[in-house]
Amino acid sequence: MNASILCDQSEEFVFGVVERFRQVEEQLENAIGGQIDAVLGVNGQPYLLRTAQGRLLESVAAERRASQLHSSIINALPAPVALLNAAGVIVAVNQAWTQRAAHSRLGPGCEVGRRYVEVCGLDLHATLSEVERAQLGINQVLIGKIDQYTQEYSCSSECGTEWFKLVVSPLQSGITEGAVVMHVDVTDQKTAELESRTHAAFPSYNSHPVLAFSKGGRLVYRNRAATHLLEEFGGEILPADLHASLAECLTSGCGKLLETKLGTRTLSWSFQPIPDEEIVHCAATDVTELLSLEAQLRQSQKMETVGQLAGGIAHNFNNLLTVVIAHASRLSAQSSAPEIVLNSAARITEVAKRAADLVRQLLAFGRRQVMELKSLDLKIVLESTATILRQVLNADIAVRVEWPPNLPCVRADHMMLEQVLLNLAVNARDAMPEGGELVIRADAVEVSTLEARQQQGGSAGEFVRLTVRDTGCGMTPDVLAKVFEPFFTTKDVDKGTGLGLATVYGIMQQHGGWIEVRSELGRGTTFQIYLHRAPAPPVLVAEAENPSSQPIAVVPADARILLVDDEPLLRGVVIQILEGAGYEVVAAGSGPEAIQCWLARGGDINLLLADMQMPGGMSGRVLAAELRRWKPELPVILTSGYTGEMVGCAASLGSKDAFLQKPYPMEKLLDMIRCAMQRVDGR
């Protein structure tokens, strides 16, 4: 029977058949209690009962809705997800998986139906052992042995290394069983972890101690350096008022610097609050060396200032002493004067010379003494000094002078070095009123950078060391700290000037060397001076001819001298002396004035005697150069009480120039004038 035939039957017939059908269904349901879904005809044709049909349709629709919902959720996941059946074969994948597969060696759309492990090995560049581990994990989830399996792995491509986390969970849906496999990209997390590990290494491997304290003072972090320090010294390394400082930092939100003493060392702590975490970071630096350098710098600046001051005073003082000496020598020259006058003049000359010595020492300290550095054989200096010392020192002081064979030469000024040794020896003598031993020793040493840094003015390299050691009373640390300061003395007022060691200090600085001192009360004092070695052995040069030993030339009657000095008192007395000696003198107070005098005389001047420093912007040297433009053969004598500019500048003086250090005896001035004139005449 087909549908068209059925439609031809009468309406009554159709209703009757349907009614019978309904009654049969009802009887069936009544018989079995509404628990059946389908019946089979004898020909094997299954018939689904109406109620079951309706419910099945509903459940199919509901399943479809749920399935759509689930696939939306799964597709929304950014991570590639695959569903595996019980055999580990991929039955479905989400969009993220499809997209990833499309860009992989696998190609799009060919992953479904393949075993997951093959795909994973191909696609994710995983190593064999990683694939094997994954296989094992997935199997355990598939057989229900574990609830979840995770595994991290990395894969490298031209874009860099990516990190993934494989998450396998069991899948139970109705009668099918399998697993959900998800690949979560954890590259960002891994990179951040790596970065944070790298950052954590900074404090951890820092060679300075780093600690962190909580608000309550609990130690929450310490690096290796801090651990070592804490093991060695314990809590001593921290500032005493730690808790107060921590609280203060956190309250104010500002950092704080603190210092702690650790035996002879000093630690500088920097406290930095991190208010959000309520902790304080504390980092320490060992500043011992820095503090010592600071102290050295302060001391050296002080000495420099005092030196400049002393040099300045000496300059003016030398001018005045020249006047004093000149007047005294004029008095002495008066043979008709009463004896008392001559005696006084002699005393004035003597005292003025002593004053000049004092000034010379001041200049040496202020490093303004004219210095002649040359390669010097120390043995000669030591021998001559030893001879003097044995004569000068009391018999109860034994003098021992030692040097090794092959002692290198030094770069030094002979006279100055002798002065250094004498000053140190005198100091030693005064420290040994009861007698003792004075040892002067020379040896060649090499100074490392580290050793050099510990000494004021020290430098690394090869040196010759001169040691002057006494067995005297020694010095207290207080005295030791001030020993090189000028005018500092422990001797009675009339016994010491306080310039001896200051002079030694100045001379050593001028030589580019330095001096070290060690002393112990009651045991004695050791001074050590370091001099640069000289590259070449000294060349013996015949001593310069002493002008005074030359036969006195006849002074030409018409010899005219241009005298230029800004000190009127000095001008006055020098004019008198020179005129007394038969010269005609033209005097000027400055360079420009001297040029006017020159022009007024039409250049008829035989010698220029000029001070090197004068107000008015023209020095003696510049003046000499100006005048030589008109008269190149003009003899010049330059004088100065302030000879700093002479150091290293001697070469710039012309061969016709002579230099006369103030204060000078009048005889020496006259000698030099004669000598200069004679040289010109001899040409």
């Binding site: 069936l28 079995i32 209690g33 628990q35 059946i36 879904d37 389908a38 019946v39 089979l40 094997g44 044709q45 299954p46 689904l48 079951a52 419910r55 099945l56 459940s59 199919v60 399943e63 109705g174 009668i175």
Partner: protein
């Protein structure tokens, strides 16, 4: 079973629970969907779903419905065994 019809799904769930709770998961269950394999069902004399046919041990026994009556189900499946019902 007739696909995922409500009574059929209920019957399967109940059968699994009974196997787990009273037979220590020992019985092997074969599932036949009559909508897909009607002749396979007829071969075992099944005319109505859901039905459970105990094939072994013989003689075969059959039970109809969603198996919600656990006591009756147990009696039919294993009349020899004395089962204490909760």
């Amino acid at each position: 079973m007739a696909a995922n019809s409500p009574n059929s799904v209920r019957a399967l769930t109940n059968l699994r629970a009974i196997c787990r709770n009273y037979f220590n998961d020992q019985p092997q269950i074969e599932i036949v969907d009559v909508l897909e394999e009607p002749h396979r069902a007829l071969a075992d004399g099944v005319l109505i779903t859901p039905s459970v046919v105990r094939i072994s041990p013989s003689p075969p026994r059959m039970i109809l419905g969603d198996l919600s009556d656990v006591k009756r189900t147990l009696v039919i499946l294993d009349p020899q065994q004395e089962v204490t019902l909760q």
